[in-house]
Symmetry: C2
Subunit: 159 residues, 2 copies
């Protein structure tokens, strides 16, 4: 897997030691699109049960700081991580009922935000745009059919 090699290289360049545990965390991470810390813990421990929970969390923090992972807070629950290293930037559209996440690109936004950032004299480092709504399928359901966790009777919110 090409991306994996690159990540290891990049870690090495930054003086971050490549232990077998970190290798495993990286390998498992890049094999998912979105995952929570706990999901990755489970996944990693399925491959090697001796890896400690704390090690995975520490590796995640490192990868995040290194810019390899992005951390997303979606609607509820713990934050999701996403491997962005080597991928073009994209934004998210999420269904608040079923939790479906659509990734899309919108170059015109990128241009607009350059303007905004310039306006305030900022140097842009990263950004996230999230749209929350109802997917075509869920729009057809009555509010009562809404699952417990994906929050709230969203009908009320007039966009």
């Amino acid at each position: 897997m090409k991306r994996f090699v690159l990540v290891e290289q990049l870690l090495k360049e930054r003086g971050i030691r490549l232990t077998s545990q970190r290798s495993l965390v990286v390998r498992r991470a890049v094999s998912h699109l979105h995952f929570t810390a706990e999901e990755l813990v489970e996944d990693v421990r399925r491959m090697d049960p001796t890896v400690a929970r704390g090690t995975v969390y520490r590796a995640l923090a490192l990868l995040h700081e290194a810019g390899i992972l992005e951390k997303h807070d979606f609607w509820y629950g713990p934050p999701y991580y996403e491997v962005t290293f080597g991928k073009a930037h994209h934004d998210h559209l999420m269904c608040m009922q079923c939790g479906e996440i659509i990734e899309f690109q919108e170059p015109r936004w990128e241009r607009l935000q350059d303007e905004v950032v310039k306006r305030y004299g900022y140097q842009l480092l990263s950004h996230t745009h999230k749209l929350y709504g109802l997917c075509p399928a869920c729009r057809r359901l009555t509010p009562k059919q809404a699952p417990k966790h994906p929050p709230l009777h969203v009908e009320e919110v007039v966009a």
Copy 2:
């Protein structure tokens, strides 16, 4: 305070009981721009120490569901709440070093996102756009001067 009256009205219309505790939570909430749940707990208990932590959390959830509060996950730590009821939508530009938060409006984004949402057949309910970067002051510092976990002191910023 006008906004407070409106909020109480709105709660009433939704059949949500107006207890003294909720009144207090609303009053304190609208007097801040951004706050965490724990900050609000402290603030409320300063006025009335008998109010339970759980009550504040439950009230926050209600107000959030009612669309009166928005929940923001900024760079680290617990999420911040923000009173958006009666305010025009705005987005956030945050300095990753000093934690300054600038609020701004960009109507052209709103139009673009309508397009995107239509493209996927979604019904838009809400959205957040966050830009992370370095403010003019912090850009002048060397990377080494950057604090590990930038303190999140929120400047009161006007759009």
